[in-house]
């Protein structure tokens, strides 16, 4: 079984530019999550998709961040325009299950996309 794939693995951009991160979850996993780790801090929740619908986007920092999951397969996370504080590692994770079993689900993570904004 293929795992969760993220790309690019590393992106270096100038402040004000746009970057799009992509995540391909495990086939058949309805749940897709985005998390972010800023240098030295904990990994924080950004948002959760169930299929193509945003279930919870309470962790999105501001409206410069836009996540999509058209067709309920892969997801993209766009940052436009990027700021210095957006630097960090962006993790994608997917899981099976639904409803009240979500909390006990095992998340399968990708290797992360490291974003450096100069």
């Amino acid at each position: 079984e293929a795992g969760v794939t993220q790309f690019p693995s590393h992106s270096v951009i100038e402040k004000g530019q746009t970057v799009t991160l992509r995540c391909d979850p495990i086939s058949g996993h309805d749940n897709l999550y985005w998390y972010r780790r800023v240098m030295g801090k904990e990994i924080k929740f950004l948002l959760h998709f169930v299929k193509e619908s945003k279930q919870d986007e309470s962790g999105m920092p501001n409206n410069r961040f836009l996540a999509e999951r058209t067709g309920g397969t892969y997801s993209t996370l766009k940052v436009q325009p990027a700021e210095l504080e957006d630097s960090g590692v962006y993790f994608c994770a997917s899981s099976q299950g639904r409803g009240d079993l979500l909390w006990a689900n095992v998340l399968t993570f990708g290797a992360g996309s490291r974003l450096t904004v100069l």
Partner: protein, 113 residues
């Protein structure tokens, strides 16, 4: 509210000696608890999880963790460290009322030959 505290940001042990990585959690509800490990340039990998069954949970690669409700702890242990255990370890909590997973700040484990 839910939160996780990993008490040590760095732990160093000699190869062959026991490993103890500490985790305390705060949760308003009965939690699920997980330990994940991240090796360099790899994704986070599940080591073990607790979801209200047995309080002593055995995971992969000889790791285990014990859920202690009275102490709100979920410490990760291994009897004998191996060089391949060098990595960063994350304690994670989730609760039934939400769909978020809350991470600790991570503990970096160094294994000295």
């Amino acid at each position: 509210a839910q939160s996780v505290t990993q008490l040590d940001s760095h732990v160093s042990v000699s190869e062959g000696t026991p490993v103890l990585l500490r985790c305390n959690y705060s949760s308003s509800y009965s939690p699920s608890l997980f330990w994940y490990v991240q090796h360099p340039n790899k994704g986070l990998q599940l080591l073990l999880k607790y979801t209200s069954a047995a309080t002593l949970v055995k995971g992969i690669n000889g790791f285990e963790a014990e859920f202690k409700k009275s102490e709100t702890s979920f410490h990760l242990t291994k009897p004998s460290a191996h060089m391949s255990d060098a990595a960063e370890y994350f304690c994670v909590v989730s609760v039934k009322t939400g769909n978020q997973f809350y991470f600790g700040t991570g503990t970096s484990l160094t294994v000295i030959p």
